[in-house]
C-alpha cells in the first residue's frame, strides 16, 4: 500500500467516526453555573443552618434521603427536625 492508500483509508475511517451518532448522544460541555432552589411549596429560601433535606418553614421534602458524611455534604446537613 502506498502512502496515498494509507491516507485514503484514514480519511474513510475519520469520516465513518464523524458520521456515526455516539451512544448516549453527544457529550455537551457545560460552563460553570450557580443556581438556588426555593421551596416549591411555600416559596421560602433555603438556608444552610436549617439543613438541606427539608424546608425550614413548611417541612417540604427537598431530599428523600438521609445524608451521611461525604465530600462537602455532612451528616449535620440533614434538617434537624427530620433527623
Amino acid at each position: 500500500m502506498e502512502e496515498k492508500k494509507a491516507q485514503s483509508f484514514l480519511e474513510k475511517l475519520k469520516a465513518k467516526a464523524q458520521a456515526q451518532e455516539k451512544y448516549g448522544g453527544p457529550v455537551a460541555e457545560k460552563e460553570a453555573s450557580m443556581g438556588a432552589r426555593t421551596c416549591p411549596n411555600c416559596g421560602a429560601g433555603r438556608a444552610k443552618d436549617d439543613g438541606l433535606t427539608h424546608c425550614a418553614y413548611c417541612g417540604f421534602e427537598f431530599l428523600q434521603v438521609t445524608l451521611t458524611d461525604g465530600l462537602h455534604i455532612k451528616k449535620e446537613d440533614n434538617s434537624r427536625e427530620n433527623q
Binding site: Q20, V27, G45, H72
Partner: protein, 269 residues
C-alpha cells in the same frame, strides 16, 4: 543461522538437496510475507500518528469520541494483520515443519528452521506492539495542559459568582469538581454551584497526573536490580502525596486506597 550444525549425522540423515531448497524457500517466503505485513502496518501508522495528534490538538473538548473510534479502527487493522500472520504460521509454517520432522532428516535442521521462523515471528509481534504503543501515545490527552486549563478557568471564575437570593458575592475558595452546595456569606442562602465539564474532569485526571509526575520513582524501582521494596513504597507514598495535592478534597478516601495498595504490595514481598 542455517547450516551451522556440524553433527547432522548424529541427529538424523543428511538433508537431501531438494529438502534444503524447500526449507530455504519456505523460510524466505515467510520472512518476506512478514516484512510485507510490517510495511503495511508502518505505512498506516506513519500516516495515522500525525492525523491523531492533529485531531487531538484541533479540539478543546474534554471528551473527544471520534479520536477513540479512529484509534480503535487502526488498532483493529493491526490486529487483523496479526491474525493473518497467525493463521499463515498455523497453516503453512507448522505443517511444513511437521513434514520435515517426520522425514527423518537431521532433526537439528528441522529445529533450526522452526526456530528461525519463530524468531522472525516474534520480531513481527514486537514490531506491531511498538507501533501500538506509539499510536497510544499520539492519542493520549495532555494531562498537564488540561490541568493548566482548569487552573486558569478557576482564576477567572473564582470572583465571578453572586448569591441568587441577595446578590452578595460568593467566592470559590477552591476548585470544585462536583456540584456543591455553597452558602451565601451574607444571607446564608444555600446556592448550588455546578462546575464546568472541564473542572469536573479534574477528579479523573488527578491520578494520571500524579502517576506521570512520579513515574521516575516507579522506574527507579523497576530498574533496580535487587527490586528493593522500599523503592516501591517510596514511589507509592510520593504518588499519593502528589494526588492529594491536586485534589485535597479526595485525600481522605485516597488514603484508604493507598493503605489497600500498600497492603497488597506488602503481601507480595
Amino acid at each position: 543461522m542455517f547450516g551451522l550444525s556440524g553433527n547432522n549425522k548424529e541427529a538424523g540423515d543428511p538433508v537431501p538437496p531438494e529438502w534444503t531448497e524447500q526449507i530455504r524457500e519456505t523460510r524466505e517466503r515467510w520472512f518476506a510475507f512478514l516484512q510485507k505485513l510490517e510495511e503495511r502496518v508502518e505505512e498506516l501508522c506513519q500516516a495515522a500518528i500525525p492525523e491523531l495528534k492533529a485531531m487531538r490538538s484541533s479540539t478543546d473538548a474534554v471528551y473527544e469520541a471520534n479520536i477513540g473510534q479512529v484509534w480503535s479502527g487502526i488498532r483493529g487493522q493491526i490486529n487483523q494483520v496479526r491474525e493473518k500472520a497467525r493463521q499463515t504460521e498455523e497453516q503453512k509454517i507448522r505443517p511444513f515443519y511437521r513434514r520435515l520432522d517426520s522425514t527423518g532428516i537431521a532433526y537439528t535442521t528441522a529445529l533450526q528452521f522452526s526456530e528461525a521462523c519463530a524468531e522472525r515471528y516474534r520480531r513481527f509481534e514486537v514490531f506491531c506492539h511498538n507501533w501500538q504503543e506509539q499510536l497510544e501515545a499520539a492519542t493520549k490527552q495532555d494531562h498537564e495542559a488540561l490541568y493548566q486549563k482548569i487552573l486558569n478557568e478557576h482564576e477567572q471564575l473564582k470572583h465571578q459568582f453572586k448569591c441568587l437570593q441577595c446578590g452578595a458575592p460568593i467566592y470559590l475558595e477552591k476548585i470544585y469538581f462536583s456540584t456543591s452546595y455553597l452558602q451565601c456569606p451574607a444571607c446564608r442562602t444555600q446556592n448550588t454551584y455546578e462546575p464546568s465539564t472541564l473542572a469536573k474532569s479534574l477528579s479523573w485526571i488527578a491520578r494520571d497526573l500524579a502517576e506521570e509526575r512520579t513515574a521516575h520513582l516507579l522506574d527507579a524501582y523497576n530498574k533496580d536490580a535487587a527490586r528493593n521494596p522500599d523503592l516501591y513504597r517510596s514511589y507509592l507514598r510520593s504518588m499519593f502525596d502528589e494526588w492529594n495535592r491536586i485534589v485535597p478534597d479526595m485525600a481522605a478516601s485516597n488514603e484508604k486506597f493507598y493503605q489497600r495498595l500498600l497492603d497488597d504490595f506488602n503481601k507480595s514481598v
